[in-house]
């Protein structure tokens, strides 16, 4: 049985986070890139900031405060987008 991949977000001090309205502006200090993110991306970044998590643990961490519409598949898609944007690292 293979171990599921874990995901890691930058430490909190690597990001400037400014909620604007429905969207959140995020400045990624290491790359100097600005991102405009919709829910649940900012929540995923916050949940992954403390320690790397696999998708199941991430879903559990998010579930306490937040329900991702569409369940596990939607969460995997959002994670994939954040990896592509360079905001989340797949370990």
């Amino acid at each position: 049985m293979t171990t599921p991949a874990r995901y890691r977000a930058p430490p909190a001090d690597a990001l400037l986070v400014e909620p604007l309205d429905a969207l959140t502006a995020i400045y990624h200090r290491p790359s100097g890139t600005t991102h405009l993110l919709a829910e649940p991306a900012p929540q995923i970044l916050a949940a992954l900031a403390a320690a790397p998590l696999d998708p199941a643990a991430l879903a559990a961490a998010l579930a306490d405060a937040y329900e991702v519409e569409g369940g596990g598949d939607a969460l995997a898609e959002r994670l994939g987008e954040l990896v592509e944007a360079g905001l989340v690292e797949r370990l």
Binding site: L16, L20, A25, Y27, G32, T34
Partner: protein
């Protein structure tokens, strides 16, 4: 350079040199009422012939300086004043780092700034001049300078660049104009010197209070713009947002969080003035 002058607009001093006396003389005359320049120029603009013989034979002006666009087309010497203004804009757009630079016009009333930004032809320049004619303090028709540390808007009151039909539409008692520049790549252009109140106060920044995205030539309509949309549109309207990095992010998110934004469609100058002044009073 054989001929040169120094000009200060708000916090920025330019040294403009030229191979010919005429553009420098026209520039010095246009800016004669401005407060004195700083000792050290921030930017240098050079107006020189693209080839040596173009100084005398069908003379042409190429824009050079600290920053240069290699593909820029030279202008005839008769449009030397326009070349100087374009050269000053170019240095600001590519080189200025002290402020977040927004491609926006700005005017002041009650100690606060109204910012207007939009694509070329949206009317931000004409609206700023029309408001100035109604007693608003003119702060600039091209660039608004936002200080990253304070969020204040610093004036950059260059002469208003009026184009085509706007040339006849804007003036006030005692208004002073530059020469008519006909047949330029942007049509007929005439510069309007800001009034004395604008020049005296050009070192006085004010906090922003309202952000307007005007659109000329459409049926009157007013629509609030959410902060995230305003943020995206202003990153596109800024020439140095990326270069400023973190300071730019802080300045721009701070601006859209602090100041309401409104999209204003207007059919003509009178309609635009009425809409903007109503919004200002309602704030």
């Amino acid at each position: 350079m054989r001929h040169a002058t120094a000009i200060r607009v708000g916090p920025v001093t330019f040294r403009v040199g030229s191979a010919w006396p005429a553009p420098v003389a026209a520039l010095a005359d246009l800016y004669r009422d401005y407060p004195p320049p700083g000792d050290v120029p921030d930017f240098t603009v050079r107006l020189e012939p693209p080839r040596p013989w173009r100084r005398v034979f069908r003379p042409q002006v190429a824009i050079a300086g600290d920053f240069t666009l290699p593909e820029a087309v030279p202008l005839p010497l008769a449009h030397g004043l326009l070349a100087a203004e374009m050269g000053m804009n170019l240095q600001m757009a590519l080189g200025h780092r002290r402020h977040l630079l927004l491609h926006a016009s700005s005017v002041e009333r009650d100690g606060a700034a109204l910012l207007m930004t939009g694509e070329s032809g949206a009317g931000k320049s004409t609206l700023s001049a029309l408001l100035a004619a109604r007693g608003w303090r003119f702060m600039g028709d091209e660039f608004a300078l936002v200080a990253p540390d304070t969020g204040l808007v610093h004036p950059f009151p260059r002469p208003v660049s009026l184009k085509n039909e706007s040339v006849a539409a804007v003036a006030w008692a005692g208004a002073r104009f530059g020469p008519v520049l006909a047949g330029t790549p942007k049509g007929t252009i005439r510069h309007l010197v800001p009034d004395a109140a604008a020049l005296v106060a050009m070192d006085r920044p004010v906090p922003p209070r309202l952000l307007v995205f005007p659109r000329f030539g459409h049926a009157a309509a007013v629509r609030p713009v959410a902060p995230a949309e305003a943020f995206v549109r202003l990153t596109e309207a800024s020439t140095n947002y990326v270069a400023l990095g973190e300071a730019g992010f802080r300045a721009l998110t701070g601006l859209v969080q602090a100041v309401p934004a409104v999209a204003v469609d207007y059919p003509d100058g009178a309609g635009g003035i009425a809409a903007v002044e109503a919004l200002w009073t309602a704030r």
